[in-house]
């Protein structure tokens, strides 16, 4: 029997492929790589492109990835695919936006987190809930 390697292709929102293959081709950042069974441990970034999985019958299945990470263990290949389009400047812009949103949302901020006040108010809410439960039970 020919040697095979287990392949998992997953993205954050769903599992894309899981099965065995003779050979896997992936668009690594520094050029396409072909992974055969018993490859040495290897980890690389992927760029946008096709991941091709060749099964025992030499048939190929093709998956598109927009980037991600490829991890190779001697008998397992894992493709962690990105779902979103990623680039450092896009990420940076998103981060700035998230910060700005936070600043916009904050009104009349006190200097320090009023820990005691928060604790007291939560305790009150919990006490109210417990009282409600008690009343409800008493009515039954």
């Amino acid at each position: 029997m020919a040697m095979t390697i287990h392949v998992d292709i997953v993205s954050a929102e769903t599992e894309i492929f899981s099965g065995t293959a003779n050979m896997v081709f992936a668009p690594a950042q520094m050029g396409e790589v072909g992974i055969a069974p018993r490859h040495a441990p290897f980890i690389t970034r992927l760029k946008a492109g096709q991941v091709r999985v060749q099964n025992e019958g030499k048939e190929e299945q093709v998956f598109y990835v927009s980037g991600g990470v490829l991890e190779v263990q001697p008998h397992v290949v894992t493709v962690l695919s990105d779902t979103a389009l990623r680039a450092d400047d896009i990420d940076e812009a998103a981060a700035l936006e998230a910060k700005k949103r936070a600043e916009d949302a904050i009104v009349n901020r006190q200097s320090e987190f009023e820990y005691a006040k928060a604790k007291a108010e939560l305790a009150e809410a919990v006490a109210q809930l417990q009282a409600l439960n008690k009343i409800r039970k008493a009515l039954r």
Binding site: E13, G68, V69, T83, A95, A98, K99, A102
Partner: protein, 286 residues
């Protein structure tokens, strides 16, 4: 028939409320199923991420990434995942209560806390108490996408890399089953090695292009995956909690209607009896 009309109006109003709560219950039930599907769909990625990162920490790395190294704690960060809307029982309150207890230990040691809030409820809660919110995301909708979280999470990761915070935690409601959701605090950074990881023999990866860049991307994705997992778990928890809360509300409305109906029947019977006795006594007088 004094009072009977008022009682009838009251019954009708409670019935209307019951219709609404029952509709909300059914909507929550169907949304919960979808949210659960999304949660299960996200699990393989998170699981694979965990195992790859476990491999990375087990390998004897030529480069130690700051995300893997423990350092002295001067300031901590929390990513708090909450729901956008209320009417879901004590879900958010329970979470905040546990979180406040957790923050207490930092507070006692005079260690500052930064917050990153996801969801409207957490934003409003921490805003009211003047907490230091450094980034936020709200209105992720029923199907949260990982894209909407990237920026929010990056703010915290940058803060960690720049040394502004020395630990990062994730707080969310863990979906156990449709009746049980438990608030959970998980340490994201520095990554805590799990118990079953031990170095058996020394080996390392072949890196392409080099270990720093690869690890940077990998560990960023790792944290994002964990936060995303927390968000979808929390979304499923929210719908489950709402379903239970609305079911309780519908049941209570039902009981109330029964009681009011009884009171109405009594009032009606009393009025008829009174009328009859008036007619009888009138006839006797003639």
């Amino acid at each position: 028939m004094a009072g009977a009309k008022e009682i009838r109006t009251k019954i009708r109003s409670v019935q209307n409320t019951q219709k609404i709560t029952r509709a909300m219950e059914m909507v929550a039930a169907s949304k919960m199923r979808k949210a659960q599907d999304r949660m299960h769909a996200a699990r393989p990625y998170a699981a694979k991420m965990r195992s790859v990162v476990a491999h990375v920490s087990a390998a004897s790395l030529e480069y130690r990434h700051p995300f893997l190294i423990e350092r002295e704690v001067k300031r901590v960060g929390y990513i708090v995942v909450s729901s956008d809307r209320g009417l879901c029982g004590g879900l958010n309150n329970n979470l905040f209560r546990m979180l406040i207890a957790d923050i207490g230990q930092w507070h006692d040691n005079e260690i500052g806390v930064d917050f990153c809030t996801i969801g409207n409820k957490a934003l409003m809660f921490f805003n009211r108490f003047g907490a230091n919110i450094v980034s936020q995301a709200t209105h992720l909708g029923d199907a949260p996408s990982i894209e909407s979280l990237i920026g929010t999470v990056k703010v915290m990761l940058d803060a960690y890399s720049d040394g502004n915070i020395d630990r990062l935690f994730l707080v969310y409601n863990d979906f156990v089953n449709s009746m049980t959701q438990s608030p959970a605090v998980e340490q994201l950074l520095p990554r805590e090695p799990s118990v079953d990881e031990e170095v058996k023999h020394h080996w390392d990866y072949i890196y392409e292009p080099d270990s720093k860049e690869v690890l940077d991307q990998l560990l960023t994705r790792y944290i994002e995956a964990l936060v995303y997992q927390g968000v979808v778990e929390n979304a499923a928890s929210e719908q489950a909690a709402r379903m239970v809360a609305m079911k309780a509300a519908s049941d209570n409305a039902g009981e109330l209607i029964d009681e009011l109906q009884l009171a109405y029947n009594k009032a009606r019977q009393a009025a008829i009896t009174q009328e009859l006795s008036e007619i009888v006594s009138g006839a006797a007088a003639v």
